[in-house]
Symmetry: C2
């Protein structure tokens, strides 16, 4: 998505080979107009695939996921991050490791907001190692629903998440794929 790539080059900042700061338009300050364009692009890319529900992981995925839900006329479900285990029959939960924070959290969703037969589009702001996306997929499949697709705003394609998800059979579309970074230097794939 060209407008997104241009925004990353203009306002994003590579701190080093690993860390990309995009908190000026994606995850602290949010460019709502760009997020609406992102939502429309996901709606176009995942049209006609029988999707019934959008899901994301709090909290940086919420803005692009809400715009996607609006564009597709579907409900959004926000999976919550909890530090403690919830033992309850009406809740699905799985442990996810965050490499960024070097800690684990419990990804949680109420059963009543995901149904057997649902075809779910997972939207998230970033894909690096893929831990959050795999966690979301585990909860969706435990509910008897299907992961119809995974839409990512920015993929760090030099990390293994995209390849691991594709190998597991998931359809992943990333709007911007970063091939390589160095301090103040960003290169996209293609």
């Amino acid at each position: 998505m060209e407008a997104l790539k241009q925004k990353i080059l203009k306002d994003g900042r590579a701190l080093n080979e690993q860390v990309l700061l995009v908190d000026s338009f994606l995850n602290h300050q949010v460019d709502a107009k760009l997020m609406a364009q992102v939502g429309e692009e996901f709606a176009r890319l995942f049209a006609n695939q029988g999707i019934t529900r959008i899901m994301t992981v709090e909290s940086s995925g919420i803005a692009p996921a809400a715009m996607t839900a609006l564009g597709m006329g579907l409900p959004l479900v926000i999976m919550k991050k909890s530090s403690s285990r919830i033992l309850s029959d009406d809740t699905l939960q799985t442990q996810v490791h965050s490499f960024t924070k070097n800690s684990d959290y419990q990804l949680t969703v109420k059963r009543k907001y995901i149904h057997p037969g649902d075809r779910v589009l997972v939207i998230d702001d970033f894909l690096a190692n893929g831990e959050a996306a795999f966690g979301a997929a585990r909860l969706i499949e435990e509910a008897g629903a299907t992961v119809a697709g995974i839409g990512i705003v920015i993929e760090k394609a030099f990390q293994p998440g995209g390849r691991r998800l594709a190998e597991a059979g998931y359809k992943v579309i990333s709007l911007a794929r970063v091939a390589k970074m160095a301090e103040n230097h960003i290169e996209f794939c293609d």
Copy 2:
């Protein structure tokens, strides 16, 4: 806002005199179309007041705040909740008490996303005791900016937050004001 009140009556659930569950359309599952209407309503209600920036507190406020930012053509800034103090010159932080969770958190924003002279509209999903809104106002004023208004999706008007904020001089507009609740019974103000 009539569509919101009807949605609360249809899909909300009063557990008792204090607890209103709206997680089927506002804070776990999200009705994106209703949130877009909420955003348009805030844009209308706070038009022509020189507002320069929308701010919210993660994470339930993000969807309505993103739609408001889109409706007003303004940037959104998400204040983060942190469990630990961050000591850094580029960050503003204040302690907020959550009555819901009976614990404190550190509300945090990077200085570069709020400027002296900004006129800020604070959007949040719920107003009860007003602790989060007062915390947001402290950070905004510490940055040398002004709280131009506070837009709330649902106010529990039987709790003191709305009155306390008004007494402190803030302009608060709530789209739905709940006067009174009992198990499976909800009454609005007016």
